[in-house]
């Protein structure tokens, strides 16, 4: 195993440093988006005795700290009062250690992690276990609603410390607690041992009001909205939903659960179906204690609901509220609703409908103001390396290519000399240098690209369908490598199976003693290290302890990432067919993992509502992207690797800057969880879809929704752009592949004037853009990919009985 790095990398990597941790610039950055290093290293910088690493605490058999899940859930339920029947993690933490599968898991996997301590920061003395960093999860900071600079710079530090101390106390780590207190020269930060976090956070809801007043107030508001002018009606209508939610929470908090349910049932039909869904979830809350665990209630109590309103509409609303003197209503509107006011006329119903849908309302204008480099950087010059692949090819038996092709190639490479004004500077995100093998592959890809068919409405692609027979409802995900040579399939039975889709079989590397015999200087070393005898058409990777949720190939096809329900991410070598690293950190199931298009970095997202950016050689995440209010279900790297888009069950999409760690776009308008996203080839557009089957196309330059492509009748699981960017393919649970004319769509965008304040009217242009739709024989589709020659490959599952 030790020889692996040298074998896989042709070029030494000393010159390359990944993006640095964020502590230098973080003090001035938003408090919400602290990198893990912040939380771990700030205490460290003041303490000679840092928090013991996980290993240590495990060996000391502290029952409280045995499971990463426990740790993450701890902040959620900081209340020392144990609710007898509530599902607080404390309850389970009292169980003996052996029963928690996660804890065993942690123990077992510690060894590989230790083996591969290839941290890029050797100066970091003893890193805090990743799970500890989650103290910085949104649950703590949720009383600070916006990731804006509302709080003074000092505040996060204090809050962090308080939280740390509380946590330490809860875990019974008295020694460390004392030390920390000494270090920061504060004996009492105002922590009342009997203080309940929940009580603090919810005290805003305390009200002596008569429960019947709520319904009256709501009805009055509704009446006012219905009677107002049509121009304002729809914008005003946005207020109703947050008001209802907060009234419900307030009623429940004050012990009027039955009245609250009654009121909800009475008014739920006023609201859009997606909000109805959330209200139904909220309706499970019937007691004060429940508020803490409920996703909706928790989100609403900690966040302001965002509504964009024109100045006139807002004035109208305020006047009404002041006239009527419904204190209940006034309180809610003042405390829990954030109005993003804009000049100009109120928006139309269609427009409001197109951007509403997010769990906490719409994006403010500020959210999408930041400039992003959505362009594609110039491809690194491959001229110099051409000689290398050519030589290799001739020696490797591929010398049948005529020499005449050379001038053609040159023209191909010189084509892209014009640089994109929107492209990020090349040194913005440190990328790993290209290895020789990468260059060979790139040249191959370019050659293939020359043969590819240009698609369009007149020349539609061929679609090859790989059907997984006998799937027995166990196939959870499928992924095809970029060069369409390997298909990887994840199963709910925790294993991963790979098939070779090309005549070349899946070869493994020779054993160590055989490798010693190979001359290191020979040119075809990459061929020689492979063992031809044990080549197989399919291989199985076993290691996870829960259903595999997503897979991702590295761009050079030597590595595979998998994430699983068992909260871990594993990195597999496709040369050794073994697990190399186990990345831990998400204390919750990981829903998605994705390699960066340039390799080395990868991102993951999961049930803990946090997306993480990792580097393969570090077992700690480089960045945490915190901001979603529900599970992060999917993520996608921008083709220039500088940004990560995350789609969530809170029905929003966020775009994060990998370099600064800050959110740069917030896209609202989805009416259902987002399960699939893809960036356009040019990098400017993002297509996304999800639970309701509608494909949304966004313009990232301004964050506007371009169009809505409707047609799918069920969940869309996968989206893909053709290599020339002309066609968008979508497929999913409804057993249909649909092809959309994206060339036409982007042409329309270019000719249109862009309204800067908010997007122009959204056209539902599904019929105009739908090229063709292909049904399979009742086999749901899992994955789509266009090959380098623009053949569409799709993976379907068939559940034979």
């Amino acid at each position: 195993m030790d020889q692996l790095p040298s074998l896989m990398d042709d070029t030494p990597q000393e010159s390359f440093h990944p993006i640095p941790p964020l502590q230098q610039n973080l003090s001035s950055q938003q408090p919400m988006l602290m990198s893990p290093q912040l939380s771990s290293q700030q205490p460290m910088s003041v303490s000679p005795h840092p928090i013991p690493p996980l290993q240590q605490s495990l060996s000391s058999q502290q029952p409280m700290s045995m499971s990463p899940q426990l740790l993450t859930q701890q902040p959620m339920s900081m209340s020392p009062q144990l609710q007898p029947m509530s599902m607080s993690p404390q309850l389970s933490s009292q169980q003996p250690m052996s029963v928690s599968p996660q804890s065993q898991h942690t123990m077992q996997n510690m060894s590989p992690l230790q083996q591969h301590s290839v941290s890029p920061h050797p100066q970091t003395p003893s890193p805090t276990p990743p799970s500890m960093q989650q103290v910085q999860s949104p649950y703590q900071n949720q009383n600070q609603t916006q990731p804006s600079n509302k709080l003074p710079d000092k505040a996060p530090d204090k809050n962090t410390l308080i939280t740390m101390l509380k946590l330490l106390r809860q875990y019974n780590l008295r020694g460390t607690e004392e030390q920390l207190k000494k270090e920061i020269n504060v004996n009492d930060l105002g922590i009342d041992p009997n203080d309940s976090d929940l009580g603090d956070l919810l005290s805003a809801y305390k009200s002596e009001g008569d429960p019947n007043l709520y319904d009256d107030a709501y009805q009055d508001l509704k009446k006012f909205i219905e009677n107002s002018l049509d121009v304002y009606k729809y914008e005003l209508g946005l207020v109703l939903y947050p008001v209802l939610v907060h009234m419900y929470i307030e009623l429940v908090y004050n012990g009027h659960g039955d009245q609250a349910t009654e009121m909800l049932e009475k008014h739920i039909l006023d609201h859009e179906p997606h909000y109805r869904e959330d209200l139904t979830k909220l309706s499970t809350v019937k007691k004060r204690d429940h508020i803490r665990d409920n996703e909706i209630a928790e989100t609403f109590r900690s966040t302001e609901f965002i509504i964009r309103m024109s100045r006139d509409t807002l004035a109208l609303l305020k006047r009404h509220l002041q006239d009527k003197k419904h204190t209940v209503l006034l309180n809610i509107v003042q405390e829990h609703i954030y109005f993003d006011m804009y000049e100009g006329g109120a928006r139309s119903k269609a427009h409001i409908g197109s951007v509403s849908g997010g769990m906490i309302g719409e994006a403010t204008r500020q959210d999408n103001k930041a400039k992003i480099y959505y362009g594609m950087p110039r491809e690194p010059d491959l001229q110099n390396s051409i000689q290398v692949p050519d030589d290799e090819e001739e020696e490797g038996g591929e010398g049948d290519k005529p020499k005449k092709k050379k001038p053609k190639k040159d023209s191909l490479f010189s084509k892209k000399t014009k640089s994109d004004p929107n492209a990020p500077p090349l040194d913005r995100l440190p990328l790993p240098p290209l290895k020789d093998s990468d260059k060979v592959d790139k040249v191959k890809a370019l050659r293939e690209a020359m043969k590819r068919v240009t698609l369009g409405s007149e020349s539609l692609p061929s679609i090859a369908c790989y059907t997984l027979l006998n799937a027995k409802q166990q196939v959870t995900c499928a992924e095809i490598s970029e060069d369409v040579s390997i298909l990887a399939v994840g199963f709910s039975e925790s294993y991963i199976k790979l098939w070779s889709l090309v005549p070349q079989k899946l070869k493994a590397m020779k054993s160590a003693d055989l490798l010693q015999d190979i001359e290191l200087e020979c040119d075809d070393i990459l061929h020689r290290i492979m063992d031809e005898r044990n080549a197989e058409t399919s291989r199985t990777l076993v290691g996870h302890e829960g259903p595999v949720r997503k897979l991702s190939f590295s761009p050079d096809k030597t590595l595979l990432l998998s994430c699983s329900q068992d909260t871990t991410i594993r990195l597999w070598s496709l040369l050794l067919w073994r697990c190399l690293v186990v990345y831990k950190g998400h204390g919750h199931p990981v829903w998605d993992v994705k390699f960066s298009p340039h390799g080395y970095y990868f991102a993951s997202a999961g049930h803990d509502r946090i997306a993480r950016l990792w580097a393969t050689d570090s077992y700690q995440p480089l960045r945490l992207f915190v901001g979603h209010y529900s599970d992060v279900d999917c993520l996608q790297f921008h083709p220039n690797s500088n940004y990560v888009a995350t789609g969530s069950s809170d029905r929003t999409i966020r775009l994060w800057d990998c370099v600064s760690g800050s959110p740069v776009r917030l896209l609202t308008g989805h009416k259902a969880p987002v399960y699939a996203m893809v960036f356009s080839i040019c990098g400017r557009f993002l297509a996304s879809s999800g639970g309701d089957g509608n494909v949304h196309v966004w313009d990232l330059s301004n964050g506007h929704l371009l169009t809505l492509l409707t047609g799918h009748t069920d969940i869309v699981r996968t989206l893909c752009f053709s290599r020339d960017g002309n066609i968008l393919a979508s497929a999913g649970q409804d057993c249909t592949v649909k092809l959309w004319d994206f060339a036409k769509l982007s042409d329309e965008v270019d000719t249109e004037e862009v309204n800067l304040s908010h997007s122009s009217d959204i056209k539902n242009s599904s019929l105009a853009h739908l090229l063709r739709s292909y049904r399979t024989k009742m086999t749901p589709l899992l994955h789509l990919i266009f090959s380098r020659r623009n053949i569409l490959l799709t993976v379907a599952t068939h559940d034979s009985t």
């Binding site: 899940q69 499970t284 369908c465 790989y466 399960y675 592949v737 019929l767 292909y774 399979t776």
Partner: protein
Amino acid sequence: MDVYGTFFSMESMKVIAETIGIPNLPDEAAKELSDNITYCCKIIIQDAFKCMLHSKRVRLMPVDIDDALAMKNIEPIYGLSVSQFLPFKHASGGGRELHFTEEKEVDFEELLTNLNPKAALETHLRTHWLAIEGVQPTVPENPPPVDKSVQKLESIDPISKLGKKDKDTSGKPTSAKLEKLRNVETVHVKQLATHELSVEQQLYYKEITEACVGSDEVVGSKPSSPSPRIRVPRNLPRMCTFIAEESNERVQNNLRPSYLSDRMLHELLPSILSCIVSKQLCGRPEADNHWALRDFAARLLAQVSKNFNTSTNNIQTRVTRLLSNAINDTKINFPSLYGATAGLCELGPEVIKVFLLPKLKDIRDRLEPCWNLEGQSLTSTEKLPVNEASHIRVVLVKALTPVIKELKTPPDHLDEYRAEFGTYLGPKLHTSVTKSRSSSGGQAHSTASTSQSTTSIVHSSVNSRLVSNSSVPGSGGGLSSQRPAILSSSIVNQQGPAGTNVQAAQQQQKYVILSSSRQGGPVQGNIQTGGSQLQMGSNQGGQIMKLATPSAQPGQKMIVVSNNNASPNVISGPPKTKTVTFIASQEKMEFE
């Protein structure tokens, strides 16, 4: 709207408390518990849903609940994995309903001996083309180009397809270009309901055509399917037989008779009829044996009309009328006459009696001249009609023998025959009848009784009567514009009195066919509605009369009386309409 949904009742809490040894749980405690447990279960199910969705499933399974519990760091419930989706069985009785999980008895012996239970099949990969350059190939892995339900709808109502034509984005095997081309070609074609055939079907068709036609007579424009609009070229009679044979094969193999749906039948019948009555069926009529083809086609026609005669299409009636029209034509040439005669003869003795016998005189007159020529040495051109006439004689003799045997009393006199049937036909007939009488009296029916068992028809197109309009008070305004006429009516029961046996009762059918929209006259009716459905009383009782209104042929209405069908369905239009059209066009097409 009930938002909160289901919950655990307080009673359940108390019962559960009792089972774990806590009697008399206070109400408050039970309430508290039920609230909390309901809440916990809902939270877990919400999380289980997330697991389900990320497992790419749409059905919640026990394993999702386990995963959700693990997410909450709660010990999963072990031993509850089930293979079925719903393991609960339901039982009720004595006013109580019970859901339980069934526990199967395990045979211990079997468990011991059966060492390795069967392993589950491994997941494996299969590849196929979902589309090739935008066109979805019709391979077994792909769904049929048109959905089954849509196909069904189209077969009933082809107009529905026309409406959808303008924006068809489903992956049917036509590229954009082709579609344009076809639209240009078929702008004014009435029927656009094409049916794509799968590769297997096309191969099957090709095989059959090649087997039948042979390599020398490959049709220039390859037909695209067996059912559709092949206008059979006149010089390719074998093409007709191929179709006929194909259908015949199916008929004889007793494949579902409905396989040859009405739609196909109307395309088939013209070709069969062409084979029977066409003027010229082959290049060298004097040498080639087209008589055999005519005979065969006639037999086939009889079989088809026997098997596919339904209350809606009335094939037998139409066919009979058509053939008798041919015979009535005094200028018809001999081959056609032969065919028409053969066709009628095949339809049974009743038909012969009613249609052939009255016309025998005309036929005799036409054949008579040949008698003089018979036996003389002739040129080839002169020989032909003689030859043809002799064929007609053969078929007439063969068919008429049993009929005449019944009609005439035993002493058969040659002169009598000669006077009645002419010098050409008479002697032959006479010898045949006498021979038949002498051999056996009972076998007389054998030759021409094919169609007797199911239906038999008294057809009287000549006798059709006009009925006055005023006799039907209830008929709707739209129907009154045309004069009604009864074309045929038959009340014939071959199988004995109605009701004596069920078989017979099911088979007997009666037809009243009106060529116009009015009805009345001899049938004493009571029309309840002016629209589509009317009931009539008759002496046999319980008969239901249905009025079908074919949409495309406003001139024709069919009223069907049947004994066996009690449900007064109104038969929908298009298939029959086709049949109607066919007869109408056939009359023009085939007899010139």
